[in-house]
Amino acid sequence: MKIDFQHYQSAHCENGVTSNLLKFYGINLSEPMIFGIGSGYFFSHMPFIKLNGMAVTSFRVWPGWIFKRVTHRLGIKVRRYKFRNHALAMKELDGLIEKGIPVGLLVGVFHLPYFPTEYRFHFNAHNIAAIGQENGTYWVSDPVMENIETLSYDELVKVRFAKGTHPPKGRMYYITNVPVQIDIKSAILSGIRKTAKDMLTIPIPMFGIKGIRYLAKRMRTWPRKYGAKLATHNLGQVIRMLEEIGTGGAGFRFIYAAFLQESAGVLDKQWLKDVSAEMTAVGDLWRQFAVHAARYFKNRDKGLTSYDSLADMLLNIADREEHIFLQLRRISR
């Protein structure tokens, strides 16, 4: 059976799945709205969590949190599962699809056959929605793809039970109940407040604005610590995290700016438009940072060692983001 499900492409996978699932239940929210209400905006640089043997830099909250927060703030009831048993995970999924319920799945991208080979890393926080099944072929709505794709039973098992950093363990989630009326305004306010709080006040140097400064500080030591070549690899990892499919860091800043702009209308607060413009400028700075960083890749073996200028760019970005969230923190009804 194939559920009649509208597939819309999005910039980021979890926004996309959440937005598409909500649209299926008649709640029409744009991707930026989902991202903002779900407080998806974040920054963290965690040297102790490794991907490809290098520190993880992330430009958004943990996978799953956007969906969790959006549904919570809108009063939508959901169920979520994780599994040990592969066959059971698939059986439960089949049962839900048979009932006409689209199901969000957390998957690893490495074994996704429809992804370009070059994008297949052991990245285990991708979201797709399963929207149909027939004779062991599954239709999935992957928000970064332009169209609906298919996966075989074995392929789906493989991606749901991918291994590596943060294995998805067959996680799935779906909506069980949607309230008649939703309070979009207070959801937006909670979303903004939470993001501002997390960006400004977490007392650990790895997160929020402090995290950006922390990355800047560490970056200055890379050439000495790792040598020219490994330093460039670390930089490359940051850029990939910044601009990877479904994670886009500079992209997130633009999505958030779009959210602030849309919210300015919904909440009737014109000053949010100015903050949105500031956020756009920050997004452009992140892009500039990527452009500069990319110059190092080309000369990676020649031992260019001035990571200081890149770190300075990051410090500038940190100051500007701080200014934005100091304003947003004071938002009221």
Binding site: G236, G251, I255, A294
Partner: protein, 143 residues
Amino acid sequence: MKINEVPQDKGYLIKGKISDLNYAVDQNGVYTSTQSQGWQPKNEALTMAWDVVYERAEHARQQIMAGVLSPVAFYMELNIMDVNILASYTGISKWKVRRHLKMKVFRKLRPEILEKYAGVFNLSPDELTDINIIIETELKHEN
């Protein structure tokens, strides 16, 4: 970013199938979204990441031809895995996987074990043990 600045630098994305959705402002400063075919800095970061993988695989290949490392080491690198990931995919313990990276140990492996590794690498057991395939594998980008 303005809508006319959305990059269209062809890289690894496939037109009509997969693209990046970018949010950007139009002439009036209003946000809209549009598809991007890729962006140069991102493409270069990706190219570099794969160069690293190929470099490591090449190193493993040299060691295999010298009779030190086993094909498992080569395919592990090619699949961007490390001993941790490979161990959890195969269900073989890490210290055993580390031993299996050596040619001397690999030669004596039971067929069941070979099959496990071959399955993870999407190969048949015969393909896994065939050194010629490794020698002939081209380590470079498609485009």
